[in-house]
């Protein structure tokens, strides 16, 4: 997908990182290449912004001021299963990466970030979000059509 397309979807990228310098660097770069970017300073703000807004990708630091970024990852994967969550860490241990893998992270970026790498990862994360969202919409439509063709079920579909 092109960056111009991302502007037209109305969706954005959320950056949750306790370091203002990292947030600023990522926001400036991603905004420059055409994404809509919002920022959160901690986990609670990140979860709130995701709940209130419309996002395709979240970049979440593993160490947040108010707790563990992996808990935020798990929470976001449950509440927004289409969202692609990319974890960030300046000092990743093996256990941290394995835990991110098990909790459903889309990718893992080691800080200091390489902006070219971020560009590639965000593109893939965005494409993955769109694929999941399209698949979910298609499955939903198929279920509705299947139910509509089953005698006695069409009324409940129309109502419910």
């Amino acid at each position: 997908m092109s960056h111009a397309d991302t502007r037209q979807t109305g969706k954005g990228i959320l950056i949750a990182d306790g370091q203002a310098g990292v947030r600023g660097q990522l926001r400036e770069y991603l905004t420059d290449i055409g994404y809509t970017v919002e920022m959160a300073a901690d986990g609670r703000e990140a979860v709130q912004r995701i709940a209130d807004g419309s996002f395709a990708v979240a970049l979440v630091d593993c160490r947040l001021a108010d707790g563990d970024g992996l808990d935020v990852l798990e929470q976001l994967c449950q509440s927004h299963p289409d969202l692609s969550v990319v974890m960030l860490s300046g000092d990743p241990s093996l256990e941290l990466v394995i835990s991110a893998l098990r909790r459903g992270a889309f990718d893992f970026v080691v800080k200091p970030v390489n902006l070219t790498e971020v560009d590639v990862i965000v593109r893939k994360a965005w494409d993955s979000f769109e694929l999941r969202a399209a698949y979910r919409a298609l499955s939903y439509r198929s279920r509705l059509q299947g139910a509509a063709h089953t005698p006695g079920k069409s009324a409940s579909v129309m109502i419910g």
């Binding site: 093996l94 394995i98 098990r102 990718d107 893992f108």
Partner: protein, 125 residues
């Protein structure tokens, strides 16, 4: 539930034999391969529910096998196991969307529970 079928890929004969005997004892259908190339041959010839593969192997390692499987067999879950774990290989595993990454030595009963759960999850989907 139908008999689960797994493919164990490891260049260490001891590990292959241990896992073969164990899973056979559970009544599972099990195939073994000593490297990624042989594993791909087996995948072409029979139905497999899950691949349990070592990372460090000659000819084709477990990460390369996983990469090729994601292209040709995206529906088959992969669990990586390694005696030489590293942050880099774990990040690569995460990017390939493997089901899990476990370090050797492992507890065989815990491994069994993990593999069994992954196969059941796949059946539900």
């Amino acid at each position: 539930m139908k008999t689960p079928s797994i493919l164990v890929v490891d260049d260490e004969l001891l590990i292959r034999d241990l896992l073969y005997d164990f899973f056979l004892g559970q009544g599972w259908d099990i195939a073994v391969a000593e490297n990624g190339e042989r594993a791909l041959q087996i995948l072409r010839s029979r139905q497999i529910d899950l691949v349990l593969t070592d990372i460090k192997m000659p000819l084709m390692d477990g990460l390369e096998l996983t990469s090729q499987m994601k292209e040709s067999y995206p529906g088959i879950p992969v669990v990586l196991m390694t005696g030489y774990p590293s942050v880099e290989s774990a990040i690569t595993a995460l990017r390939y969307k493997v089901e899990d990454y476990i370090t050797k030595p492992f507890n065989i009963n815990q491994l069994y529970k993990l593999v069994d759960a992954k196969i059941r999850e796949r059946e539900v989907r």
